[in-house]
Symmetry: C2
Subunit: 470 residues, 2 copies
Amino acid sequence: MNAIAQFQARRRDIPAGFLDALKAQFGERFSVANSVREHHGSDESPYEPVLPDGVVFAQSTEDVAWVARHCHQHGVPLIAYGTGSSLEGHILAVQGGITLDLSGLNKVVAVNAEDLTVTVQAGVTRKQLNTEIRDTGLFFPIDPGADASLGGMAATRASGTNAVRYGTMRENVMNLKVVMADGRVVQTANRARKSSAGYDLTRLFVGSEGTLGIITEVTVRLYPQPEAISAAVCNFPTLRAAVQSVIEIIQMGVPVARVEFLDLAAVKAINAYSKLTLHESPLLLFEFHGSPAGVREQAQTVQEITSGNGGTAFEWAEHPEDRSRLWAARHNAYFAGLHLRPGARSTTTDVCVPISRLADCVLETAADLEKASFPYTMLGHVGDGNFHVQMMLDSGNPAEWEESERINHRLVARAIAMDGTCTGEHGVGLHKMEFMLAEHGQDALDLMSALKHALDPDNILNPGKMIPSA
Amino acid sequence: MNAIAQFQARRRDIPAGFLDALKAQFGERFSVANSVREHHGSDESPYEPVLPDGVVFAQSTEDVAWVARHCHQHGVPLIAYGTGSSLEGHILAVQGGITLDLSGLNKVVAVNAEDLTVTVQAGVTRKQLNTEIRDTGLFFPIDPGADASLGGMAATRASGTNAVRYGTMRENVMNLKVVMADGRVVQTANRARKSSAGYDLTRLFVGSEGTLGIITEVTVRLYPQPEAISAAVCNFPTLRAAVQSVIEIIQMGVPVARVEFLDLAAVKAINAYSKLTLHESPLLLFEFHGSPAGVREQAQTVQEITSGNGGTAFEWAEHPEDRSRLWAARHNAYFAGLHLRPGARSTTTDVCVPISRLADCVLETAADLEKASFPYTMLGHVGDGNFHVQMMLDSGNPAEWEESERINHRLVARAIAMDGTCTGEHGVGLHKMEFMLAEHGQDALDLMSALKHALDPDNILNPGKMIPSA
């Protein structure tokens, strides 16, 4: 996409000897190879890669602090890289500089099962974490679909399918170890479940997208594995009936663990991609966690609500393998969407609105999309009021990109007018920067700039992201 | 207590004409009367009053912004005042200046029952809020005991008895309207349940104790009133048995709504003060929320755990009036404690530790307290690892104050060594400032100072609080 061109001009010069010093310090763990730089300048966004000047493969907080001090001294940009699963261009090196690959920070530091907490290095992924703690009887619920790193999930304030029950990274991160712009290392909190001792440094960094500091350790809350889990599928005659059911379920306070919406196109896409036989109409996927009796009770209440809105009887996925297959299909919806148009790249919207406005927002968006000249799907974490439109674009056709951008602009304007947000969980990165002013207003944006300037006065941490002026 | 003397010296001069301009602007809503200043320079802390130079009774965000601009222009301190229920000296005017009484901001701005949110002006108290929304079938759970204002609760990151189930103000504030040091007005977020659009301004102000901005509107989450509620009392032979039961309940993931611990002295005190007949031994008070079947299931699990630790059979408070009486007694525990020693003032500790260390922390503290020369009680929100020691002191006897301070120092050191915090919910104010360095370390404290300086460069917002250098 040529939308990236505007960022290229701001590339900074690298001082003489700067890269040599990195080579001397890190040896084979520093690379300027084109393939390595290209890999680390790419993500799952619609943008073409924008390469850093070099990549350091960090293995410790000390490595990160060393690079930060070196970059700070020479005014060179520094970009944290987890797994590259960003959808919004977060890790593109739009001002050049050094990318810090944190995948080598892959140790579980401390499992405190008695306290329902775990501390991991930032490069540990959510699947790795859940595998390593399986024997404790606990699990980490936040599930953004991709097997993202915990550091990246904290940095983008990620959430996903389980957030309706368990909250987002905002609610589940307890403590962070962060390397500041000048290389100092800060621990943001401790392991007390609550504290009123000063400013909330933890949440200052959660969602800061590598622009205020580089997260190297994350302590998160864990939850007992539910005694009983069940999953169900419910089809609806219309989008409205599906969304209205979700609104009533949330308003009743039913503690559903997951409630995912898929429109007709999304159902067809995942049937084709994941070889499922879901009935093809708008549908909701549910998961219930609790005691056996509690799960039955939740399911019964939900079934009453969905029936009242014209939903079909639940199709149950009682066996763990059926459930896994269903949720794997949901998680692969992104790739299933891409599969609708071989060779396409996709761009994904991410609005979130108060639940009372969800039906209006979904239906107005569906009406707007009817005229689209490319394939698209709609799906989302509707229990939170958050849904996505995935648009499959011919990357050689700028007109399609512009059309998709107009659709997203209208969608974001709609969401903001409904007291919602341009991004529920994907973050700002490059792609949502243009909406920050409309969403927050100038004074709040100035306040964000003041925070950025206070913590990173030379603007070396992931520059050119999140705040339009940075 | 003479501990306040060190703060008096820093009182700032008020420029000529400054107070006259406030009088001209606010008329009878501005007062320099001694009784008014004394009332607004006092709280529930052990400190003697420290009076502001004048008090403005604000009725709107515009009033607050006007005062902020005026104070900003002249470098005069500005202190927000809700209901004066702070236990830590938050609102004492240690550098003089103007106190803004926000009790006139007492309107419920918008009830969005469909979204389970409400927006109130900062002076609305939690009891007023729950009275005004009663007909919606929703309630606001955060309950710090005192009938505090929502603005004050946000500013101190308050929690209380329900936090074990519903979280603290950190988890439940969705959006704030805040007047900045220079009078600009910022809206920190919107009403989407989640967002990844930029820095978390909401949580920057939650817990900032009036030092970063003055909160004038608060949007919080509401919850459906539970279909069924039951409460129970369980007595234990020892402190350890009671605390061990709580640890097991939390580790099992039982969603208790409340689990409060009272030591023998606290039980005796509330029996005497509230004319109850609780069996006099360490006890736990429980409340269960849910469906009728869910509540029974929770209670059964909890009873099995407490029995396994030597607890007595539950005594039930099934009727709403019995429950109200029980919880009113718990809420009056502070006054019941004071009643143990007529004429005394009390000082209250507030550590919070990871739940695995709770038994150690409580028992070591109990052992330390055995030598105390004054009456004390221990009680707390033990489901969160948070407990209080209330010490009843002869305010004419500096030796008792010093003894209580030594006890609190040892207690805080114990909690920090256990990866806990000096304050779980009361905030820093004046009384916990001395622990900020030990708890956070110099680099994190410097980061907090940088945030303070970025938002309030002239240090006019509640100066001399929270951060030792401010």
